[in-house]
């Protein structure tokens, strides 16, 4: 029994040290906010970038398609943390932008490549009769894309897109590498004060899990709503 009491006492002390003393939980809260912010902004930018790249690739020939292909190959073929390093320490090293802005840009560029491939697949899956029907009414290619094809494509690929954004959230945990105070970094900072990793690391893990599961259920709801027209 003594051993058990010892354990409980030590554990309570660890929690106190990691979270309560000197308001250390604020490291995690600030980190959480940063991670959510970067993910939302990068996902938003990533969709636009992905759409643009997907359409460049679909329109086939020429410089734009080649650029789109090159971009996708490079992003999908290199680790996220390396991309972040290159963008922060090489490409934007003299930009003077705050680290979290650079992180957002890097994750948007990263996510855009995956989103592009997802959306391209979604657009290809829309029946080609839809494009013909739009064009036969006198709608331009871009109008038909915007009002007919892309809404259907997005609906088709919503589960895959949701998955990508969940992956993106998890990927943002490497943002600490360039000094961004994200959730993982928040945990690490607490640990560097208390010399104990257990509580802050588990807390960070728990918060990531809460975020990903609520994203998953939010997506489920959205999917159900978008299937009204079926």
């Amino acid at each position: 029994m003594d051993g058990y009491n010892e354990f409980v006492k030590e554990f309570a002390n660890k929690i106190f040290q990691a979270l309560i003393k000197d308001d250390r939980f604020t490291y995690l809260v600030k980190g959480l906010r940063m991670s959510i912010g970067i993910t939302l902004a990068a996902a938003f930018l990533g969709i636009f970038l992905g759409l643009l790249v997907a359409i460049c690739k679909l329109r086939g020939k020429g410089v734009l398609a080649a650029l789109a292909n090159g971009y996708i190959t490079i992003i999908r073929g290199t680790p996220t943390v390396v991309q972040l390093t290159v963008i922060y320490f090489v490409i934007l090293s003299h930009s003077g932008l705050p680290d979290f802005v650079v992180a957002t840009i890097a994750f948007a560029i990263n996510s855009g490549a995956y989103v592009a491939e997802i959306i391209r697949a979604g657009i290809t899956a829309v029946d080609r009769g839809q494009m013909e029907a739009g064009r036969s009414l006198g709608l331009s290619y871009s109008h038909t894309m915007r009002y007919i094809i892309i809404p259907q494509a997005l609906k088709n690929v919503l589960p895959a897109l949701g998955n990508e954004f969940i992956v993106l959230l998890k990927e943002t945990s490497v943002a600490g590498y360039i000094g961004t105070q994200d959730l993982n970094k928040g945990g690490l900072q607490v640990a560097s004060i208390t010399y104990d990793f257990m509580v802050p690391a588990l807390c960070a893990a728990y918060l990531y899990l809460m975020l990903t599961t609520s994203m998953a259920s939010g997506l489920n709801r959205l999917e159900r709503r978008m299937h009204r027209s079926d």
Partner: protein, 240 residues
Amino acid sequence: MIKVNNLHKCFGALEVLKGIDASISKGEVVCVIGPSGSGKSTFLRCLNLLEEPTKGEIFLDGISITDHKKDIDKLRQKAGMVFQQFNLFPNLTVIENIMLAPRKVLRMSEADARKRAEDLLTRVNLSEKADQYPNRLSGGQKQRVAIARALAMNPQVMLFDEPTSALDPEMVGEVLEVMKDLAKSGMTMVVVTHEMGFAREVADRVFYMDEGVIYEEGTPEQIFRNPQKTRTREFLSKVL
């Protein structure tokens, strides 16, 4: 209204249209019949450049559409198209399907476009379906919406690509009824069809296509009662 000179269309090495000459005047209803693979649909799709002709000229309302590919969106407004597979937009309600092109292409106001769409829905007897999504409709209803959608652009000619071929037999009648009304109203129509009864009753002229050319043409009377050429006779003996 439509003039076609020496129209050729190749898909790779396969020559589907081998020189078509035709002239269709305003208000005329032309039915195009013939065996599958004879190029009927390709011919029709060339008329609004859904297929790009390999060679030849097409005039729509006096303007060469083969010379004005840049203005194709404008030219396509003159020719409404109805597809075998309906191709309604599943992400839009029935009335939104009809309103989209008038709103975006003709830049009509919301109210005007809605008014026009409602009138057209009444014309095809589907006013009560305005706010449904297409997937809730039967095939016959879908095709009637598709006709209304094409008419919303006030086209000068309507092209029908086997409009009843994907329908259950009991729904063919309602679609043909709408097309007959349209013909009576003086619309210029080109109809690719397997409905010989419709062709006989409604058409002013019938094109019999075979092997990529208009093999024989004439009034329904001439084609159905008294075909002049062997292959026309053979085909009709199979389908009548």
